[in-house]
Point group: C2
Chain length 199, copies 2
DNA sequence: CTACTTATGTATCGATTGATACGGAAGTAC
DNA sequence: GTACTTCCGTATCAATCGATACATAAGTAG
């Protein structure tokens, strides 16, 4: 690793995970450097900027960490080996379960991590929006595939169905933060999938 | 009105409406006093605090204004003279239409107005959450009523259905802010209502 | 040892935050 | 007219924001 120079005295990975938890709970803008430095092991501002560049760069790194861990619940939307119906259903169920899990903050970092932001945080807002749009397009891809392989009729309203699932998916974050029960959310997935009888 | 003293030189109602637009667009915390004073007619800090008390009190007044105007789309959830199915459907359709209307900011002030907030804004977060919970309970009331009058079967999963509609409803705000088309959202309401064939 | 590299701690930067102090201006009441 | 009330404008408050300067400590390379 570090070939030369004074070795780092804090655990960079642990600090990153602590930052994830704080950003997840509070969102990007209201999370201050003071809070970050504190949860990241009480590091000094110099250490913070040397290791992470800036608050914004840290957040970008945090988003990557989130996507590669808890955020993986959305990956199944990109899976073309599962049936479309099953891919969507699993995404919704796993998202609902993950976002109500009390072992970490409630809701979704991608949806709620930068929802109220001033103009100084435009880049961060766009970063998260880009991730959401990718998920939305993956959702649309699954619906399209379902029509293509005959799991849904040819005259299916692809955009309308995509919007139904997509709107429900992003709604889970607010619902979870408002205290929705995991079991209620799971059964709500039963209902939203109910019209779709697998071929 | 003002019986005595120097008369106000700015239009209080117009200032309140301008504040609503700004809060709606940016959210509570990232909206600064400087921005508010500017859009509210370029008033001075003294005039601001004399007329509205504080940023937080202004926001509370703004929420009341919103609820009595654009926010009325949720009122139908409290209407027991409409059929339950129709009440829910109208709420969803009107919310989707209103929140994508380009004549004002996108999304919903109640859902997105204070989603990322620091601990100094706890009261504001709770205020909006309380409104959302009331709407959620009204939704549950409509489902309950549907079962009671036989529009839905006796063994209906009331909490699961409530969560499905409630999660979709709060999702509209994020969907609208992400650029969802009004027509797609309207058709997504077709789909989410589809399982429910009015008696 | 010296040279170099990297991390650390303290002290502080300019800008902005929400909120006030204070004096004066503009109206009504008598 | 004077007294009283309400509002306005300027100047400014302490606190906090994200970010840096500067000197020093702790390691490797030769």
């Amino acid at each position: 690793m570090a070939r030369t120079g004074r070795p780092r005295e804090f655990d960079r990975q642990a600090a990153l995970e602590a930052a994830l938890t704080l950003f997840w709970k509070q969102g990007y803008e209201p999370t201050s450097l003071s809070q970050l430095k504190e949860v990241m092991g009480g590091i000094s501002p110099t250490s913070f900027y040397a290791a992470f560049g800036s608050k914004e760069q840290l957040f970008e790194e945090v988003v990557e960490l989130y996507r590669s861990t808890e955020g993986r619940v959305a990956d199944v939307l990109f899976d073309e080996e599962t049936s479309p119906r099953s891919a969507i259903e699993r995404c919704l169920r796993q998202s609902a379960k993950m976002q109500t899990d009390p072992s970490h903050p409630l809701g979704c970092l991608i949806v709620s991590g930068a929802s109220n932001c001033g103009s100084t945080a435009d880049q961060v807002v766009e970063l998260l929006r880009t991730v959401r749009k990718k998920n939305h397009e993956a959702l649309r891809g699954q619906i399209r595939r379902a029509v293509a392989i005959g799991d849904l009729p040819d005259n299916t309203d692809i955009d309308g169905l995509t919007e139904m699932f997509g709107t429900f998916l992003v709604g889970i974050s607010t619902a979870a933060r408002d205290g929705a029960k995991s079991s209620d959310l799971d059964r709500s997935v039963d209902h939203i999938m109910r019209f779709w009888v697998e071929a």
